[in-house]
């Protein structure tokens, strides 16, 4: 099993931390994982992306040309990566921000109103955790409870935000 994921969006949408949630989830499931961010002025200029490779064996290359899954949180990111997605791959689209449908029919497109769902959980800031829930449900890569444990671990120092993020995760999971 090797899963290659590209997560992309505006800076501030939690793109990098969504990737880290997945990276931690993979590690706690005893899988091998690499998380590679875009860095430098690019990240200050507005767009951010990260590449995740999750595997049962040592990850050879952390770079991704044809992702199995693209998580696009804004339109420029969708446009940039959509044509790279593997045939039969998955594209998770934050339809709160991206109003168009994709033209490709050879991928599994999931439209998710992540911002609205996050708002229901308590804050639009948790939109990335909504997407995490949706990804976990769609990919069936990790047990749901394990990822919830990861969320609790990551927010260990801010325990007051844990319930809201778990709620966001559940809502995202249920949306699939």
């Amino acid at each position: 099993m090797t899963e290659k994921i590209i997560i992309a969006g505006f800076g501030g949408q939690g793109v990098l931390s969504l990737g880290q949630f997945l990276a931690y989830s993979a590690m706690y499931e005893n899988k091998e994982v690499t998380w590679l961010p875009s860095y430098g002025p690019e990240m200050r200029g507005g767009t951010a992306n990260c590449s995740l490779v999750i595997s049962d064996k040592a990850v050879a290359s952390p770079l991704i040309e044809t992702p199995d899954c693209l998580i696009a949180l804004n339109k420029p990111s969708l446009d940039k990566f959509i044509n790279n997605v593997k045939v039969g791959g998955t594209v998770i689209i934050n339809s709160s921000i991206i109003k168009e449908k994709i033209e490709r029919t050879d991928v599994n497109a999931i439209y998710l109103e992540a911002n609205e769902i996050a708002q229901k959980a308590g804050s639009v800031k948790a939109a990335n955790v909504v997407v995490l829930g949706a990804y976990v449900a769609a990919s069936k890569l990790f047990p749901k409870e394990s990822v919830k444990g990861t969320i609790a671990k990551i927010f260990k120092k801010k325990p007051n935000v844990i319930p809201m993020n778990l709620e966001a995760f559940e809502l995202g999971y249920a949306a699939i």
Partner: protein, 352 residues
Amino acid sequence: MSERILMKGNEAIAEAAVRGGCRYFFGYPITPQNEIPEYMAKRLPEVGGAFIQAESEVAAINMVYGAAGAGGRAMTSSSSPGISLKQEGISYIAGAELPCVIVNMVRSGPGLGGIQPSQGDYFQSVKGGGHGDYRMLVYGPSSIQEAVNIIYKAFDKADEYRIPVMILGDGVLGQMMEPVALPDAIDVSALPKKEWATDGTKSGAERRIINSLYIEADVLEGMNNKFKALYEKLKAETAHETYLADDAEIILTAFGITARIAKSAVDLLREQCVKAGLIRPITLYPFPSDVYAKYAAKKNVKKFVTLELNLGQMVEDVRLAVNGKKPVEFYGRSGGNIMTPEEVVREILKRI
């Protein structure tokens, strides 16, 4: 070894350095290695060490010279343009037989270049980037865990040979996160005392001098020959990895992050029934020439293809090692671009 934690390469390297006994760090900000000095600024005071943000790379490497000369386990890190500025100091450190550790998270050049990953500093690192006839022990780790293991031992190697040790990484290695298991911290108080160090405890006939000036040609030649013997001895540190190389007809060779890409490419090529293999130098100096010579002599090996993120640097050492016995070709990307495994496969298929 502790349980695995997820760490950014730069931070893991910094923590492993501290656990390997590093107590003095002198640095200057430059992308993409800033997490190393930032980590050290927080971490070293916790273990009774010291961090200084120097006024320049030049000052930083000379602070390393001073601290190393006084017997401390000292380190600096930078990225390509900053490493260029340090070359004067590195030459002095080599000339004065001082141990230290230098990390170069290479970015693309020349000049200010870009901030994306590159391997364009290979020549500078393994051929002696500063003036005079010297070498460093140079490692090219290809994973965060390997970088951690190497830097943890790097201070011991530096002390053993009284030589600067360089970790040649790149932007990907520094910025990427991977699970790592960190080794236990060593007890620095148990380290052997450096009798040669100028720690102010001796005077008169017993006083120590840290120096690289030998004004008499014969005396300096004596030093040069001493270094030659040292670099000969250093060959014991040569390290490499091979992957599916034994029955390979085409041998890919690469170091650092490119070697991971090459490994993926080998797997993809094998899926297409192309007998590909990989030789990955772990030490870039000393270079594992014998391994190349061994494979070059094998009947099944048709050619070597060197993959680098530059215009072709390590390929020269591969050619020297292969010594004309088999063709040695090159494929590289530069400017901060990174080749993908699929791209490597396309290149290789064109060449068979």
